[in-house]
């Protein structure tokens, strides 16, 4: 029986270029992948690359839309889906941090003192909830979809939980980091059934492991 092409979900955005380069180094035919234009699926001999939003890579991998994929640890923690986290690819380093307006020190504490609850804006409600649960702090989470930095500036939230690589965006918006939540890098993920039934997935994981084992962690 002719096997169908291996399907790999590749996150577009900041991880994309490093991911494409690494997949090429692993011996996959990445022709046309670097500049896909409007194409969402790049089909080459033996492999289909599915170009997805970073948060959707675990979704495709869990539900069998892809056998495996590349996405950030951050999206994995937030998605809480049933994928196997196979290899740390060491690129796309970023941190989850808690930040507040730099010129209002003590304001968040005062608000917490008064209300007994902290208002936190974020794109990552689950990560935020579990971080504050472990810290024993009551939070009201405001889920946003972008430009989280705005929320404390307009008084909508006391603090934000967001991702930062260099901290530039935070500084430009006059926010300062007050806590570290977790660090993230790109991961090679795989569907549990694919790992057990498809040797190509196991071989790709081993190859990626070998390629990245001695690398230093980098930003993308």
């Amino acid at each position: 029986m002719q096997k169908r092409n291996l399907r790999i979900a590749v996150s577009k955005g900041s991880l994309f270029n490093d991911a494409v380069e690494l997949l090429g180094q692993a011996g996959l035919d990445t022709t046309g992948l670097a500049n896909p234009g409007r194409h969402l699926i790049i089909s080459n001999p033996g492999v289909d690359f599915i170009i997805v939003r970073p948060t959707d890579a675990p979704v495709f991998t869990t539900y069998g839309g892809a056998d495996c994929g590349i996405c950030g640890k951050d999206t994995l923690v937030e998605a809480r889906l049933n994928v196997m986290e196979m290899v740390d690819l060491k690129f796309g380093y970023c941190r989850f941090v808690v930040a507040e307006p730099a010129d209002m020190p003590g304001a968040a504490e005062a608000s917490y003192e008064k209300l007994g609850v902290l208002r936190v804006a974020t794109k990552y409600p689950r990560i935020t909830q579990s971080f504050y649960e472990e810290a024993g702090v009551q939070v009201d989470i405001i889920k946003m979809h972008g430009n989280i930095e705005l929320a404390p500036l307009v008084g909508m939230a006391d603090r934000i939980v967001d991702i930062t690589a260099t901290g530039t965006t935070l500084r430009e918006n006059n926010l300062r980091v007050v806590d570290e939540v977790l660090a993230s890098t790109a991961r090679f993920i795989a569907n549990p059934a694919s790992v057990r039934t498809d040797s190509r997935v196991r071989e790709l994981a081993a190859k990626l492991e070998e390629l990245t084992r001695d690398r230093e962690v980098t930003m993308s």
Binding site: T62, Y63, G64, K73, R80, N82, V83, M84, E85, M86, V87, D88, R126, R187, N191, P192, A193, S194, V195, R196, T197, D198, R202
Partner: protein
């Protein structure tokens, strides 16, 4: 309102229902041929009974609540009850209570729907059907191999030709984890990482301060060992110098016995197989088909669960998901069973019509009564 079913619950129309019935019968017959007897348990259990078998307790229930939890509610007696989330725990309860005075071993099979509360965005059913067996009162590798052979034959009886059964053991892992560190908190975290199949997290945890490097390294490499018989060599090399090989030997014997006695499907060793249920104590396994993104079946040995109900005996079993087996069959090109032709019987005299129809039914013909 527009009448509908609750999310995740659905009606099954005749073509599919007939197919499900055929598979259930074929699999149940196979269970029966291995000496397993049918058992039925109630759809609803006391929530406390379900909780008794979980060693992780309440915290883990909360941790899993986001994705999956038992379906719970209060009945009119103000008891907190749960729709059965699996059948293993109810069967263990039966063996430990109503069969308290009977001598085992017991071999039971079941075919029952089970229920799970899931978030609306997970796109999964909340009611599904499990076909499974429990072998209570027998331990050791022979009983392990028996349960696995039953699984192979059940999948084959269902009509599947291509499937993989991956087996592992939590015994080796537990032994390594206990010796790697004295911190119970670290034990929890490393086992959680195995539960989540987070191999990167396992690597990081094994390199933490206070973890004995030799054991840490062995745990990290163990998670990546998978393959055929040769995987045992790789694993033995890893754990023998550390004195953790007792469970490994048992798994290898199981593997050899199963391999000799099965003729279809693929058997593989995979030490990253750790079920999301935390009651397994030795053998653990899952079955997969290449066409279905989730496991078709899962099971293992749960030697301490019976003790939680007051009957200290070893036990092992598995459940296969009827819906997933059906999905795999369809993807592998199987078609629904032919229910056979039906014959319309008509007569102006209803008495004669009934008599004719009875004659035909006696010959095994499907008849439909005609007329207005």
């Amino acid at each position: 309102m527009i009448p509908r079913t609750p999310r995740g619950f659905r009606d099954v129309l005749p073509t599919e229902a007939a197919w499900r019935k055929t598979i259930t019968q074929a699999v149940s017959t196979q269970f029966g041929l291995w000496g397993y007897l049918p058992l039925e348990t109630p759809a609803i259990e006391l929530a406390d009974v379900i909780g008794m078998a979980s060693s992780l307790g309440k915290d883990s229930l909360q941790a899993h609540a986001a994705a999956e939890a038992p379906f719970r509610f209060f009945d009119s007696d103000s008891n907190l009850v749960a729709l059965r989330p699996d059948v293993t725990i109810p069967v263990a309860r039966v063996a430990a209570t109503r069969l308290r005075d009977e001598k085992g071993p017991f071999r039971f099979y079941y075919a029952q729907p089970v229920f799970a509360e899931r978030e609306s965005t997970y796109g999964q059913e909340r009611e599904f059907t499990q076909l499974g067996v429990e072998c209570i009162g027998k331990g050791g590798y022979v009983a392990d191999a028996e349960v696995l052979c039953v699984l192979f034959e059940a999948l084959q009886a269902a009509g599947l030709s291509t499937f993989t059964v991956a087996i592992g053991t939590v015994g080796v892992l537990n032994a390594l984890v206990r010796q790697a560190s004295d911190s119970p908190e670290w034990h929890d975290r490393i086992l959680q990482a195995f539960h989540k199949s987070d191999l990167v997290g396992i690597d990081l945890l094994t390199k933490e301060e206070g973890v004995k490097p030799a054991y840490g390294d062995a745990i990290a490499r163990l998670a990546r060992i998978r393959g055929g018989k040769e995987a045992f060599g790789a694993c033995a090399e890893l754990v023998a110098p550390l004195g953790c090989e007792s469970d490994l030997e048992q798994l290898q014997r199981t593997y050899e016995l199963v391999e000799e006695n099965t003729h279809m499907g693929t058997l593989m060793v995979d030490f990253s197989i750790v079920s999301s249920f935390d009651y397994y104590t030795g053998l653990v396994f899952k079955a997969y088909a290449p066409e279905v993104p989730a496991s078709l079946a899962s099971g293992g040995r749960y030697d301490t669960t019976m003790a939680a109900f007051g009957r200290n005996e070893p036990a092992a079993g598995f459940a296969l998901g009827l819906e997933r087996v059906l999905a795999a069959l369809e993807a592998q090109g199987a078609t629904p069973p032919d229910v056979g032709p039906e014959q319309v019987v008509s007569d102006d005299d209803p008495k004669l019509m009934f008599a004719k129809a009875a004659q035909l039914r006696a010959q095994g013909v499907r008849v439909v009564l005609g007329g207005e």
